[in-house]
Symmetry: C2
Subunit: 235 residues, 2 copies
DNA sequence: AGAGCGTAGTACTGTATAATACCACTATGT
DNA sequence: ACATAGTGGTATTATACAGTACTACGCTCT
């Protein structure tokens, strides 16, 4: 794996580009002075001193006690803990300070793009309290395997209708003949995601509208019954 | 709790100021058109449309299917799930792409400021694998109660030396006579944090240096023995 | 003279925000 | 029929700020 990905990942965690480069240098060398860090990364000393001070302020590095000021990185594991804790605090604060939320509407929400559709599926898995039904292709299921595994581990009953024998511990998998069909995901009998999804694009609708939920539920139930009837004929 | 804190918390989760204001308006109203959202928040329509598009791209809002474009907020619970997942992915990526880390050094790291000291304590709690010893004042212990509770819940043995009868399920608490003393925290017999901490400031050193670890360990052990001896005399 | 240590300052770029202008359509009042 | 207000939406410019690039200066030590 190349260096840029490490820098990208750190930037996603709140580092600026130069902070990330300096942090990486500190990881690799154990501890460095500002002058050494600037030389090692090619960042001008002026910016290096500023970015190191910022790393210390953010808690991602510490000053090493000694004569000349040297710096050491916080371990990456601890950086992970730190950003997780801070984010939990922010989420907690947001929930505590949330305004009165208007309830009741069940609009049809547009979910466009493969990434957005998969992300919405993950949210359905993570938010599920009782049951999950999914009619998806195996390649799409693979992309949310971890989230489904976590759901089954939480005791969520997961039923899958798939185009081939896909396997997940704790999940009930039906294999249908049709090669491909629309996405249909139902969570807890209340939330539904449906539409088109392939490797390059996604165009789905998410809703808690009871009519749409019932429509998709009937569609799925019907298709699962066909699969079960066919399996019975074979036995 | 006033509105600014909600906006601050959202900004910490990746919203810009205007995105946060618009998101809040969408939460309060269920769904809004761009024009309505601009009016509701006082943001110019040009910026409002741009920020709403950005909210959709970030996954924090969706377009409502219908004639005129209307928008609805992702629930705050789901926003929490989303940012957690993304952060987990970034942490995972960073760990996977991490450079070779230089091992072995055990420098004395400076930890300045009350917030930074408490944060380092929390990291020690979260990272503990076996034991935690803490000599702290009760008011400081209160600030890390949640992290200590999580540690005991994970089976970490927590021993506290405190200036009054502080209580935490699963922790062993000794009460000393001295009103206040230096901070001394030892994790797993390997990591130590020590120094001064009061309500307005903190000035500590963190290290994995075996000499310092042993020094603080002896100091704590000695003081706990005195407390235990005194308790025995009283009985 | 060169390396190491550190700070101050300027300039450029990108982003967020503030603001204005323009265009089109619909509804309403006169 | 016309003017006005409201709604929907985009384009553009300007400003402030943070991040980054860069230069200059001063000091100490070898």
């Amino acid at each position: 794996m190349s260096s840029p990905d490490f820098i990208d990942a750190l930037q996603a965690l709140g580092f600026t580009g130069q902070e990330a480069a300096l942090y990486r240098a500190l990881l690799e060398h154990g501890e460095l002075s500002g002058y050494e860090a600037a030389k090692e990364t090619g960042i001008s000393r002026s910016n290096a001193y500023h970015a190191l001070a910022s790393l210390v302020e953010k808690g991602f590095a510490s000053r090493v006690e000694g004569e000349a000021t040297r710096y050491a990185a916080l371990s990456l594991e601890d950086v992970g803990r730190l950003v997780r804790s801070r984010q939990e605090m922010s989420i907690k604060n947001a929930l505590a300070a949330a305004p009165q939320v208007k309830q009741g509407g069940t609009p049809f929400l547009s979910v466009s793009g493969r990434a957005a559709v998969l992300e919405r599926m993950r949210l359905l898995c993570q938010g599920a309290e009782d049951r999950l039904y999914l009619a998806l292709d195996a390649t799409d299921l693979e992309d949310i395997r971890d989230d489904l595994a976590e759901a089954t581990a939480r005791g969520i009953r997961v039923t899958v209708l798939c185009n081939r024998a896909w396997e997940l511990d704790g999940a009930l998998v039906h294999v249908r003949r049709k090669a491909r069909g629309p996405v249909r995901v139902i969570a807890d009998g209340r939330k539904v995601l449906t539409g088109e999804l392939d490797q390059a694009r996604g165009e789905c609708v998410f809703s808690e509208n009871p009519h749409l939920v019932n429509l998709i539920k009937d569609s799925l139930t019907h298709e699962i019954q066909i699969v079960q009837a066919r399996a019975t004929e074979r036995n």
